[in-house]
Protein backbone atom coordinates (compact mmCIF):
# COMPACT_ATOMS: atom_id res chain seq x y z
CA UNK A 1 0.00 0.00 0.00
CA UNK A 2 2.78 2.31 0.86
CA UNK A 3 4.49 1.91 -2.49
CA UNK A 4 1.23 2.53 -4.31
CA UNK A 5 0.90 5.82 -2.48
CA UNK A 6 4.43 6.80 -3.43
CA UNK A 7 3.90 5.99 -7.07
CA UNK A 8 0.65 7.94 -7.15
CA UNK A 9 2.38 10.89 -5.51
CA UNK A 10 5.20 10.99 -8.03
CA UNK A 11 2.75 10.54 -10.89
CA UNK A 12 0.73 13.49 -9.62
CA UNK A 13 3.84 15.61 -9.21
CA UNK A 14 4.96 14.74 -12.72
CA UNK A 15 1.63 15.73 -14.22
CA UNK A 16 1.73 18.98 -12.27
CA UNK A 17 5.30 19.70 -13.34
CA UNK A 18 4.36 19.05 -16.94
CA UNK A 19 1.51 21.54 -16.80
CA UNK A 20 3.95 24.16 -15.62
CA UNK A 21 6.79 23.43 -17.99
CA UNK A 22 5.14 22.14 -21.13
CA UNK A 23 3.59 25.44 -22.24
CA UNK A 24 7.03 27.03 -22.28
CA UNK A 25 8.53 24.10 -24.13
CA UNK A 26 5.71 24.31 -26.65
CA UNK A 27 6.31 28.02 -27.00
CA UNK A 28 9.99 27.46 -27.63
CA UNK A 29 9.39 24.79 -30.23
CA UNK A 30 6.63 26.78 -31.90
CA UNK A 31 9.09 29.53 -32.64
CA UNK A 32 11.06 27.12 -34.78
CA UNK A 33 8.05 25.83 -36.68
CA UNK A 34 6.67 27.10 -39.97
CA UNK A 35 3.14 28.56 -39.71
CA UNK A 36 1.32 25.37 -40.76
CA UNK A 37 2.91 23.35 -38.01
CA UNK A 38 2.44 25.81 -35.17
CA UNK A 39 -0.79 24.31 -33.95
CA UNK A 40 0.64 20.85 -33.50
CA UNK A 41 1.11 19.42 -30.06
CA UNK A 42 4.43 17.83 -30.74
CA UNK A 43 7.56 19.44 -29.42
CA UNK A 44 9.78 18.53 -32.33
CA UNK A 45 9.12 20.45 -35.52
CA UNK A 46 9.12 18.59 -38.78
CA UNK A 47 10.89 21.44 -40.45
CA UNK A 48 13.07 23.58 -38.29
CA UNK A 49 13.05 27.16 -39.43
CA UNK A 50 14.57 30.36 -38.18
CA UNK A 51 12.23 32.51 -40.23
CA UNK A 52 10.19 33.57 -37.24
CA UNK A 53 13.22 35.00 -35.57
CA UNK A 54 14.43 36.66 -38.74
CA UNK A 55 11.06 38.30 -39.30
CA UNK A 56 10.75 39.42 -35.72
CA UNK A 57 14.20 40.91 -35.66
CA UNK A 58 13.59 42.75 -38.90
CA UNK A 59 10.17 44.12 -38.06
CA UNK A 60 10.87 45.77 -34.75
CA UNK A 61 13.96 46.88 -32.84
CA UNK A 62 14.14 43.92 -30.46
CA UNK A 63 17.87 44.09 -30.10
CA UNK A 64 17.54 47.68 -29.02
CA UNK A 65 14.70 46.79 -26.66
CA UNK A 66 16.82 44.09 -25.09
CA UNK A 67 19.55 46.62 -24.47
CA UNK A 68 17.04 49.09 -23.10
CA UNK A 69 15.66 46.58 -20.67
CA UNK A 70 19.12 45.49 -19.61
CA UNK A 71 20.23 49.07 -19.15
CA UNK A 72 17.17 50.16 -17.20
CA UNK A 73 17.01 47.08 -15.00
CA UNK A 74 20.71 47.13 -14.21
CA UNK A 75 20.74 50.84 -13.41
CA UNK A 76 17.73 50.56 -11.17
CA UNK A 77 19.15 47.51 -9.38
CA UNK A 78 22.47 49.19 -8.73
CA UNK A 79 20.74 52.34 -7.54
CA UNK A 80 18.44 50.46 -5.22
CA UNK A 81 21.34 48.52 -3.75
CA UNK A 82 23.51 51.58 -3.32
CA UNK A 83 21.03 54.21 -2.22
CA UNK A 84 18.87 51.67 -0.48
CA UNK A 85 21.66 50.41 1.72
CA UNK A 86 22.81 53.94 2.50
CA UNK A 87 19.33 54.84 3.59
CA UNK A 88 18.75 51.56 5.41
CA UNK A 89 22.05 51.89 7.23
CA UNK A 90 21.16 55.34 8.49
CA UNK A 91 17.69 54.20 9.46
CA UNK A 92 18.99 51.18 11.28
CA UNK A 93 22.10 52.35 13.06
CA UNK A 94 22.10 56.13 13.25
CA UNK A 95 19.76 58.13 15.39
CA UNK A 96 18.53 61.36 13.98
CA UNK A 97 15.43 63.42 14.41
CA UNK A 98 13.51 62.39 11.34
CA UNK A 99 13.96 58.65 11.78
CA UNK A 100 10.58 57.58 13.15
CA UNK A 101 8.80 59.65 10.53
CA UNK A 102 10.84 58.08 7.78
CA UNK A 103 10.09 54.62 9.15
CA UNK A 104 6.39 55.23 9.26
CA UNK A 105 6.43 56.79 5.82
CA UNK A 106 8.21 53.77 4.32
CA UNK A 107 5.64 51.37 5.70
CA UNK A 108 2.81 53.66 4.65
CA UNK A 109 4.13 53.77 1.10
CA UNK A 110 3.91 50.00 0.91
CA UNK A 111 0.28 50.05 1.93
CA UNK A 112 -0.82 52.33 -0.89
CA UNK A 113 -1.76 50.54 -4.11
CA UNK A 114 0.29 51.66 -7.09
CA UNK A 115 -2.79 52.59 -9.08
CA UNK A 116 -3.50 55.53 -6.82
CA UNK A 117 -0.29 57.30 -7.66
CA UNK A 118 -0.11 56.15 -11.25
CA UNK A 119 -1.81 59.17 -12.82
CA UNK A 120 -0.08 61.88 -10.82
CA UNK A 121 3.25 60.26 -11.50
CA UNK A 122 2.38 60.22 -15.16
CA UNK A 123 1.40 63.86 -15.18
CA UNK A 124 4.59 64.69 -13.29
CA UNK A 125 6.66 62.98 -15.96
CA UNK A 126 4.78 64.87 -18.64
CA UNK A 127 5.33 68.16 -16.92
CA UNK A 128 9.02 67.46 -16.46
CA UNK A 129 9.20 66.78 -20.15
CA UNK A 130 10.51 63.32 -19.50
CA UNK A 131 8.20 61.44 -21.86
CA UNK A 132 10.29 59.18 -24.06
CA UNK A 133 13.39 59.44 -21.92
CA UNK A 134 15.33 56.95 -19.88
CA UNK A 135 14.84 59.25 -16.93
CA UNK A 136 11.13 58.47 -16.91
CA UNK A 137 11.86 54.77 -16.75
CA UNK A 138 14.56 54.95 -14.12
CA UNK A 139 14.13 57.86 -11.73
CA UNK A 140 10.79 56.86 -10.15
CA UNK A 141 12.39 53.53 -9.23
CA UNK A 142 15.65 54.73 -7.72
CA UNK A 143 14.43 53.99 -4.21
CA UNK A 144 12.48 50.89 -3.30
CA UNK A 145 10.58 50.79 -0.01
CA UNK A 146 10.54 47.00 0.22
CA UNK A 147 14.29 46.88 -0.34
CA UNK A 148 14.92 49.52 2.28
CA UNK A 149 12.80 47.71 4.82
CA UNK A 150 14.52 44.40 4.14
CA UNK A 151 17.99 45.90 4.32
CA UNK A 152 17.13 47.83 7.44
CA UNK A 153 15.85 44.67 9.11
CA UNK A 154 19.09 42.92 8.28
CA UNK A 155 21.33 45.79 9.32
CA UNK A 156 19.64 45.93 12.70
CA UNK A 157 21.13 42.57 13.52
CA UNK A 158 24.76 43.40 12.93
CA UNK A 159 26.55 43.70 16.29
CA UNK A 160 27.13 47.21 17.55
CA UNK A 161 30.68 46.26 18.54
CA UNK A 162 31.72 46.15 14.88
CA UNK A 163 30.54 49.69 14.34
CA UNK A 164 32.08 50.93 17.56
CA UNK A 165 35.52 49.55 16.81
CA UNK A 166 35.32 50.91 13.27
CA UNK A 167 34.41 54.36 14.55
CA UNK A 168 37.28 54.21 16.96
CA UNK A 169 39.55 53.47 14.03
CA UNK A 170 38.28 56.67 12.57
CA UNK A 171 36.06 55.26 9.83
CA UNK A 172 33.30 57.42 8.44
CA UNK A 173 29.75 56.11 8.07
CA UNK A 174 29.97 55.33 4.38
CA UNK A 175 33.23 53.50 4.94
CA UNK A 176 31.59 51.43 7.65
CA UNK A 177 28.66 50.65 5.41
CA UNK A 178 30.66 49.48 2.45
CA UNK A 179 33.63 47.81 4.10
CA UNK A 180 31.89 46.17 7.04
CA UNK A 181 28.16 45.87 6.44
CA UNK A 182 28.19 44.95 2.78
CA UNK A 183 30.42 41.87 3.01
CA UNK A 184 28.25 40.59 5.85
CA UNK A 185 25.06 41.28 3.93
CA UNK A 186 25.68 39.22 0.83
CA UNK A 187 22.57 37.04 1.23
CA UNK A 188 20.14 39.91 1.68
CA UNK A 189 21.85 41.99 -0.99
CA UNK A 190 21.44 39.21 -3.51
CA UNK A 191 17.80 38.81 -2.51
CA UNK A 192 17.20 42.51 -3.06
CA UNK A 193 19.15 42.48 -6.30
CA UNK A 194 17.10 39.65 -7.75
CA UNK A 195 13.64 40.92 -6.98
CA UNK A 196 14.52 44.45 -8.00
CA UNK A 197 16.02 43.34 -11.29
CA UNK A 198 13.17 40.95 -12.07
CA UNK A 199 10.57 43.55 -11.13
CA UNK A 200 12.10 46.03 -13.52
CA UNK A 201 12.74 43.50 -16.27
CA UNK A 202 9.09 42.39 -16.29
CA UNK A 203 7.46 45.79 -15.71
CA UNK A 204 5.12 46.73 -18.53
CA UNK A 205 2.40 49.16 -17.44
CA UNK A 206 4.69 52.06 -16.59
CA UNK A 207 6.71 51.91 -19.81
CA UNK A 208 3.46 51.76 -21.75
CA UNK A 209 2.49 55.05 -20.18
CA UNK A 210 5.69 57.04 -20.49
CA UNK A 211 7.42 55.74 -23.59
CA UNK A 212 6.01 55.97 -27.11
CA UNK A 213 9.11 55.83 -29.21
CA UNK A 214 9.83 52.28 -30.31
CA UNK A 215 13.54 52.73 -29.91
CA UNK A 216 13.20 53.47 -26.24
CA UNK A 217 10.76 50.74 -25.40
CA UNK A 218 11.66 48.02 -22.97
CA UNK A 219 11.45 44.43 -24.07
CA UNK A 220 8.14 43.42 -22.47
CA UNK A 221 6.65 46.66 -23.72
CA UNK A 222 7.82 46.21 -27.29
CA UNK A 223 6.70 42.63 -27.17
CA UNK A 224 3.20 43.64 -26.09
CA UNK A 225 2.93 46.39 -28.66
CA UNK A 226 4.25 44.11 -31.32
CA UNK A 227 1.92 41.25 -30.50
CA UNK A 228 -1.13 43.46 -30.23
CA UNK A 229 -0.36 45.84 -33.03
CA UNK A 230 -0.48 43.12 -35.61
CA UNK A 231 3.19 43.54 -36.36
CA UNK A 232 3.67 39.94 -35.51
CA UNK A 233 1.46 38.52 -38.18
CA UNK A 234 1.85 34.91 -37.20
CA UNK A 235 1.91 33.15 -33.87
CA UNK A 236 5.42 31.96 -34.49
CA UNK A 237 6.75 35.46 -34.81
CA UNK A 238 4.99 36.83 -31.74
CA UNK A 239 6.18 33.90 -29.69
CA UNK A 240 9.68 34.40 -31.01
CA UNK A 241 9.65 37.90 -29.62
CA UNK A 242 8.46 36.52 -26.31
CA UNK A 243 11.39 34.13 -26.32
CA UNK A 244 13.86 37.01 -26.33
CA UNK A 245 12.36 38.20 -23.06
CA UNK A 246 12.06 34.78 -21.49
CA UNK A 247 15.23 32.91 -22.39
CA UNK A 248 17.69 35.00 -20.33
CA UNK A 249 15.41 34.70 -17.33
CA UNK A 250 15.01 30.94 -17.69
CA UNK A 251 18.75 30.45 -18.02
CA UNK A 252 19.42 32.54 -14.94
CA UNK A 253 16.62 30.73 -13.14
CA UNK A 254 17.98 27.32 -14.02
CA UNK A 255 21.21 28.12 -12.22
CA UNK A 256 19.92 30.29 -9.44
CA UNK A 257 16.45 28.97 -8.76
CA UNK A 258 16.93 28.74 -5.05
CA UNK A 259 17.97 32.41 -4.95
CA UNK A 260 15.04 33.39 -7.15
CA UNK A 261 12.57 31.58 -4.96
CA UNK A 262 14.04 32.97 -1.77
CA UNK A 263 14.08 36.46 -3.20
CA UNK A 264 10.75 36.80 -4.93
CA UNK A 265 8.77 34.86 -2.36
CA UNK A 266 10.36 36.77 0.48
CA UNK A 267 9.79 40.15 -1.10
CA UNK A 268 6.19 39.30 -1.90
CA UNK A 269 5.45 38.34 1.65
CA UNK A 270 6.98 41.52 3.01
CA UNK A 271 5.04 43.56 0.49
Amino acid sequence: MKTFRRVALYAGLTIAAITFIYPFLWMASATFKPPIEVGSLSLIPNHITFDNYRTMWARAPFGRALLNSAFVATTITLAVLLFGSMTAYAMARLSFRGRPVLNAATIAVLLVPGQLTLIPLYTLIVQLGWIDTYAALIVPYLFNATAILMLRQFFLQIPQSLIDSARMDGMGELRILFTIFWPLSKPVLSIVAIFTFMGSWNEVLWPLLVVRDQHLMTLPQLLTVFALGGGAGTIGVSLASAMVLVVPVVIAYAFLQRNFIESMAGAGIKG
Binding site: R99, P113, L124, N202, V204
Partner: protein, 287 residues
Protein backbone atom coordinates in the same frame (compact mmCIF):
# COMPACT_ATOMS: atom_id res chain seq x y z
CA UNK B 1 25.39 63.00 19.12
CA UNK B 2 25.87 65.84 16.78
CA UNK B 3 27.90 63.99 14.20
CA UNK B 4 25.52 61.08 14.10
CA UNK B 5 22.58 63.41 13.71
CA UNK B 6 24.28 65.07 10.80
CA UNK B 7 25.32 61.85 9.07
CA UNK B 8 21.91 60.33 9.57
CA UNK B 9 20.10 63.29 8.12
CA UNK B 10 22.56 63.58 5.28
CA UNK B 11 22.39 59.95 4.31
CA UNK B 12 18.63 59.86 4.34
CA UNK B 13 18.03 63.25 2.75
CA UNK B 14 17.93 61.87 -0.82
CA UNK B 15 15.38 59.27 0.29
CA UNK B 16 13.31 61.87 2.05
CA UNK B 17 13.35 64.05 -1.04
CA UNK B 18 12.43 61.08 -3.18
CA UNK B 19 9.49 60.23 -0.92
CA UNK B 20 8.25 63.79 -1.07
CA UNK B 21 8.42 63.99 -4.85
CA UNK B 22 7.40 60.48 -5.80
CA UNK B 23 5.19 59.42 -2.95
CA UNK B 24 3.74 62.24 -0.90
CA UNK B 25 3.16 64.65 -3.77
CA UNK B 26 1.50 62.04 -6.04
CA UNK B 27 -0.84 60.89 -3.30
CA UNK B 28 -1.82 64.44 -2.48
CA UNK B 29 -2.13 65.40 -6.14
CA UNK B 30 -4.18 62.28 -6.86
CA UNK B 31 -6.68 63.37 -4.25
CA UNK B 32 -6.65 66.86 -5.70
CA UNK B 33 -7.14 65.58 -9.25
CA UNK B 34 -10.36 63.93 -8.19
CA UNK B 35 -11.88 67.37 -8.11
CA UNK B 36 -10.35 68.55 -11.40
CA UNK B 37 -10.68 68.16 -15.12
CA UNK B 38 -7.45 68.03 -17.05
CA UNK B 39 -6.37 66.81 -20.46
CA UNK B 40 -2.69 67.58 -19.98
CA UNK B 41 -2.74 70.17 -22.73
CA UNK B 42 -5.03 72.92 -21.52
CA UNK B 43 -4.95 74.23 -17.98
CA UNK B 44 -6.72 72.08 -15.39
CA UNK B 45 -10.13 73.31 -14.35
CA UNK B 46 -11.94 72.84 -11.11
CA UNK B 47 -14.78 70.36 -11.43
CA UNK B 48 -16.13 69.95 -7.94
CA UNK B 49 -17.65 66.54 -7.36
CA UNK B 50 -18.36 65.95 -11.04
CA UNK B 51 -15.86 63.13 -11.33
CA UNK B 52 -17.20 61.40 -8.27
CA UNK B 53 -20.77 61.67 -9.48
CA UNK B 54 -19.79 60.41 -12.91
CA UNK B 55 -17.96 57.48 -11.39
CA UNK B 56 -20.88 56.53 -9.19
CA UNK B 57 -23.08 56.28 -12.26
CA UNK B 58 -20.48 54.93 -14.63
CA UNK B 59 -21.69 51.54 -15.84
CA UNK B 60 -18.34 50.69 -17.29
CA UNK B 61 -16.55 51.24 -14.01
CA UNK B 62 -18.96 49.12 -12.02
CA UNK B 63 -18.93 46.50 -14.72
CA UNK B 64 -15.16 46.38 -14.25
CA UNK B 65 -15.57 46.02 -10.49
CA UNK B 66 -18.11 43.24 -11.00
CA UNK B 67 -15.73 41.52 -13.40
CA UNK B 68 -13.07 41.61 -10.74
CA UNK B 69 -15.37 39.89 -8.29
CA UNK B 70 -16.15 37.23 -10.86
CA UNK B 71 -12.42 36.80 -11.32
CA UNK B 72 -11.79 36.58 -7.58
CA UNK B 73 -14.58 34.12 -6.93
CA UNK B 74 -12.80 31.64 -9.18
CA UNK B 75 -9.20 32.63 -8.67
CA UNK B 76 -9.00 32.74 -4.86
CA UNK B 77 -10.51 29.33 -4.02
CA UNK B 78 -8.63 27.74 -6.90
CA UNK B 79 -5.40 29.36 -5.74
CA UNK B 80 -5.81 28.14 -2.17
CA UNK B 81 -6.73 24.61 -3.19
CA UNK B 82 -3.96 24.17 -5.75
CA UNK B 83 -1.22 25.82 -3.70
CA UNK B 84 -2.17 23.83 -0.62
CA UNK B 85 -2.35 20.55 -2.51
CA UNK B 86 1.05 21.08 -4.10
CA UNK B 87 2.60 22.22 -0.83
CA UNK B 88 1.32 19.12 0.96
CA UNK B 89 2.73 16.97 -1.82
CA UNK B 90 6.10 18.68 -1.61
CA UNK B 91 6.29 18.62 2.15
CA UNK B 92 8.06 15.32 2.51
CA UNK B 93 11.32 13.68 1.63
CA UNK B 94 11.23 13.41 -2.13
CA UNK B 95 13.61 12.56 -4.86
CA UNK B 96 14.26 15.66 -6.96
CA UNK B 97 12.36 17.85 -4.50
CA UNK B 98 14.26 20.91 -5.71
CA UNK B 99 13.26 20.16 -9.28
CA UNK B 100 9.53 19.94 -8.53
CA UNK B 101 9.61 23.12 -6.49
CA UNK B 102 11.52 24.92 -9.24
CA UNK B 103 9.06 23.83 -11.91
CA UNK B 104 6.06 25.11 -9.95
CA UNK B 105 7.77 28.43 -9.35
CA UNK B 106 8.89 28.92 -12.94
CA UNK B 107 5.82 30.84 -14.17
CA UNK B 108 6.22 33.25 -11.25
CA UNK B 109 9.47 34.63 -12.60
CA UNK B 110 8.20 34.92 -16.16
CA UNK B 111 6.82 38.27 -17.27
CA UNK B 112 3.05 38.64 -17.11
CA UNK B 113 3.08 39.91 -20.68
CA UNK B 114 4.72 36.73 -21.93
CA UNK B 115 2.33 34.54 -19.99
CA UNK B 116 -0.61 36.49 -21.37
CA UNK B 117 0.63 36.18 -24.94
CA UNK B 118 1.42 32.51 -24.51
CA UNK B 119 -1.96 31.68 -23.05
CA UNK B 120 -3.85 33.69 -25.61
CA UNK B 121 -2.37 31.25 -28.10
CA UNK B 122 -3.19 28.29 -25.88
CA UNK B 123 -6.77 29.47 -25.53
CA UNK B 124 -7.21 30.26 -29.24
CA UNK B 125 -10.46 28.73 -30.36
CA UNK B 126 -9.27 27.09 -33.57
CA UNK B 127 -5.57 26.42 -33.33
CA UNK B 128 -5.17 26.74 -29.60
CA UNK B 129 -3.42 23.92 -27.80
CA UNK B 130 -6.13 23.44 -25.21
CA UNK B 131 -8.88 22.90 -27.71
CA UNK B 132 -6.62 20.57 -29.66
CA UNK B 133 -6.10 18.50 -26.53
CA UNK B 134 -9.84 18.45 -25.98
CA UNK B 135 -10.35 17.32 -29.54
CA UNK B 136 -7.94 14.45 -28.94
CA UNK B 137 -10.16 13.13 -26.18
CA UNK B 138 -13.28 13.72 -28.19
CA UNK B 139 -14.62 16.92 -26.67
CA UNK B 140 -15.83 19.98 -28.52
CA UNK B 141 -13.67 23.08 -28.71
CA UNK B 142 -14.57 25.87 -26.31
CA UNK B 143 -14.32 29.52 -27.40
CA UNK B 144 -12.46 30.40 -24.25
CA UNK B 145 -11.67 34.03 -24.83
CA UNK B 146 -14.54 34.96 -27.09
CA UNK B 147 -17.43 33.64 -25.05
CA UNK B 148 -18.51 36.17 -22.41
CA UNK B 149 -19.23 33.41 -19.94
CA UNK B 150 -15.84 31.74 -20.14
CA UNK B 151 -13.50 34.63 -20.80
CA UNK B 152 -12.93 35.89 -17.25
CA UNK B 153 -12.84 32.36 -15.79
CA UNK B 154 -10.23 31.48 -18.40
CA UNK B 155 -8.10 34.42 -17.31
CA UNK B 156 -8.65 33.44 -13.69
CA UNK B 157 -7.31 29.95 -14.36
CA UNK B 158 -4.32 31.38 -16.16
CA UNK B 159 -3.43 33.76 -13.33
CA UNK B 160 -3.81 30.92 -10.85
CA UNK B 161 -1.40 28.86 -12.92
CA UNK B 162 1.09 31.68 -13.04
CA UNK B 163 1.14 32.43 -9.33
CA UNK B 164 0.62 29.06 -7.68
CA UNK B 165 4.35 28.49 -7.16
CA UNK B 166 4.58 31.62 -5.08
CA UNK B 167 1.81 30.51 -2.73
CA UNK B 168 3.24 27.00 -2.56
CA UNK B 169 6.34 28.53 -1.01
CA UNK B 170 4.21 30.40 1.51
CA UNK B 171 2.33 27.24 2.48
CA UNK B 172 5.53 25.20 2.63
CA UNK B 173 6.99 27.70 5.08
CA UNK B 174 3.84 27.45 7.16
CA UNK B 175 3.94 23.68 7.17
CA UNK B 176 7.43 23.73 8.65
CA UNK B 177 6.09 25.52 11.67
CA UNK B 178 3.68 22.82 12.68
CA UNK B 179 5.51 21.16 15.59
CA UNK B 180 6.46 17.58 14.97
CA UNK B 181 5.15 16.58 18.36
CA UNK B 182 1.68 17.89 17.44
CA UNK B 183 1.71 15.81 14.29
CA UNK B 184 2.82 12.72 16.17
CA UNK B 185 0.39 13.38 19.00
CA UNK B 186 -2.58 13.54 16.69
CA UNK B 187 -1.45 10.36 14.98
CA UNK B 188 -1.26 8.56 18.29
CA UNK B 189 -4.64 9.96 19.26
CA UNK B 190 -6.14 8.09 16.38
CA UNK B 191 -6.52 10.54 13.53
CA UNK B 192 -6.81 9.31 9.97
CA UNK B 193 -4.98 11.24 7.25
CA UNK B 194 -8.07 13.31 6.50
CA UNK B 195 -8.67 14.03 10.21
CA UNK B 196 -5.08 15.10 10.63
CA UNK B 197 -5.55 17.56 7.78
CA UNK B 198 -8.83 18.89 9.06
CA UNK B 199 -8.02 19.22 12.75
CA UNK B 200 -4.33 20.10 12.69
CA UNK B 201 -2.85 21.05 9.32
CA UNK B 202 -5.58 23.29 7.98
CA UNK B 203 -6.19 25.28 11.18
CA UNK B 204 -2.45 25.70 11.66
CA UNK B 205 -2.20 27.20 8.18
CA UNK B 206 -4.81 29.85 8.78
CA UNK B 207 -2.33 32.75 8.78
CA UNK B 208 -0.90 31.55 5.47
CA UNK B 209 -4.36 31.13 3.98
CA UNK B 210 -5.23 34.67 5.02
CA UNK B 211 -2.08 35.86 3.30
CA UNK B 212 -2.96 33.96 0.13
CA UNK B 213 -6.44 35.45 0.14
CA UNK B 214 -5.19 38.99 0.73
CA UNK B 215 -2.41 38.92 -1.82
CA UNK B 216 -4.42 37.26 -4.56
CA UNK B 217 -7.29 39.67 -3.94
CA UNK B 218 -5.01 42.66 -4.31
CA UNK B 219 -3.51 41.04 -7.37
CA UNK B 220 -6.96 40.53 -8.81
CA UNK B 221 -7.90 44.17 -8.45
CA UNK B 222 -4.68 45.17 -10.14
CA UNK B 223 -5.24 43.04 -13.23
CA UNK B 224 -4.07 44.87 -16.33
CA UNK B 225 -1.75 43.18 -18.77
CA UNK B 226 -3.85 40.04 -19.01
CA UNK B 227 -7.06 41.59 -20.31
CA UNK B 228 -5.04 44.18 -22.23
CA UNK B 229 -3.21 41.54 -24.23
CA UNK B 230 -5.70 38.72 -24.37
CA UNK B 231 -9.10 40.25 -24.86
CA UNK B 232 -8.83 44.03 -24.90
CA UNK B 233 -11.51 44.01 -22.22
CA UNK B 234 -14.13 42.13 -24.18
CA UNK B 235 -16.09 40.07 -25.03
CA UNK B 236 -18.99 42.33 -24.11
CA UNK B 237 -16.67 44.03 -21.63
CA UNK B 238 -16.70 40.91 -19.50
CA UNK B 239 -12.94 41.00 -18.91
CA UNK B 240 -12.64 44.75 -18.57
CA UNK B 241 -10.57 45.37 -15.46
CA UNK B 242 -10.49 48.50 -13.35
CA UNK B 243 -6.87 49.27 -14.10
CA UNK B 244 -7.52 48.79 -17.78
CA UNK B 245 -10.27 51.36 -17.54
CA UNK B 246 -7.96 53.70 -15.68
CA UNK B 247 -5.30 53.32 -18.33
CA UNK B 248 -7.76 53.93 -21.15
CA UNK B 249 -9.07 57.09 -19.53
CA UNK B 250 -5.56 58.42 -19.12
CA UNK B 251 -3.91 57.31 -22.28
CA UNK B 252 -6.71 57.23 -24.80
CA UNK B 253 -9.23 59.75 -23.56
CA UNK B 254 -6.74 62.05 -21.84
CA UNK B 255 -9.09 62.51 -18.90
CA UNK B 256 -6.58 62.84 -16.06
CA UNK B 257 -9.02 63.97 -13.43
CA UNK B 258 -11.36 61.10 -14.08
CA UNK B 259 -8.55 58.57 -14.29
CA UNK B 260 -7.20 59.75 -10.95
CA UNK B 261 -10.68 59.38 -9.50
CA UNK B 262 -10.75 55.79 -10.68
CA UNK B 263 -7.37 55.27 -9.03
CA UNK B 264 -8.54 56.64 -5.71
CA UNK B 265 -11.75 54.65 -5.85
CA UNK B 266 -9.76 51.49 -6.58
CA UNK B 267 -7.46 52.11 -3.63
CA UNK B 268 -10.47 52.57 -1.38
CA UNK B 269 -12.15 49.43 -2.67
CA UNK B 270 -9.00 47.35 -2.20
CA UNK B 271 -8.51 48.73 1.28
CA UNK B 272 -12.07 47.97 2.28
CA UNK B 273 -12.11 44.44 0.87
CA UNK B 274 -8.79 43.54 2.49
CA UNK B 275 -9.98 44.95 5.80
CA UNK B 276 -13.16 42.90 5.67
CA UNK B 277 -11.16 39.80 4.84
CA UNK B 278 -8.82 40.39 7.75
CA UNK B 279 -11.72 40.84 10.09
CA UNK B 280 -13.61 37.72 9.08
CA UNK B 281 -10.81 35.26 8.45
CA UNK B 282 -8.24 36.84 10.71
CA UNK B 283 -10.69 36.89 13.59
CA UNK B 284 -10.86 33.11 13.62
CA UNK B 285 -7.12 32.94 14.08
CA UNK B 286 -6.94 35.39 16.94
CA UNK B 287 -9.52 33.35 18.80
Amino acid sequence: MRAEERSGSLLTAPYAAFLLIFAVYPIAFALALVFMQWDLVTTPSFAGFDNVRLLANDGRFWRAVANTFVFLSIHVPLQIASALALALALNRRLVLRGFWRASFFLPVVISGAVVAILWSHLYATDVGLINRLLARIGLNPVPWLTDPATAMPAIAVMVTWKNVGFYVIIYLAGLQYIPRSCQEAIEIEGASAWQRFRYLTLPSLLPQTLLVVTLSTINGFQLFIEPYVMTGGGPLRRTYSVVLYLYTNAFAYQKMGYAATIGVALALIIGTVVLIQRRTIGRTEAL
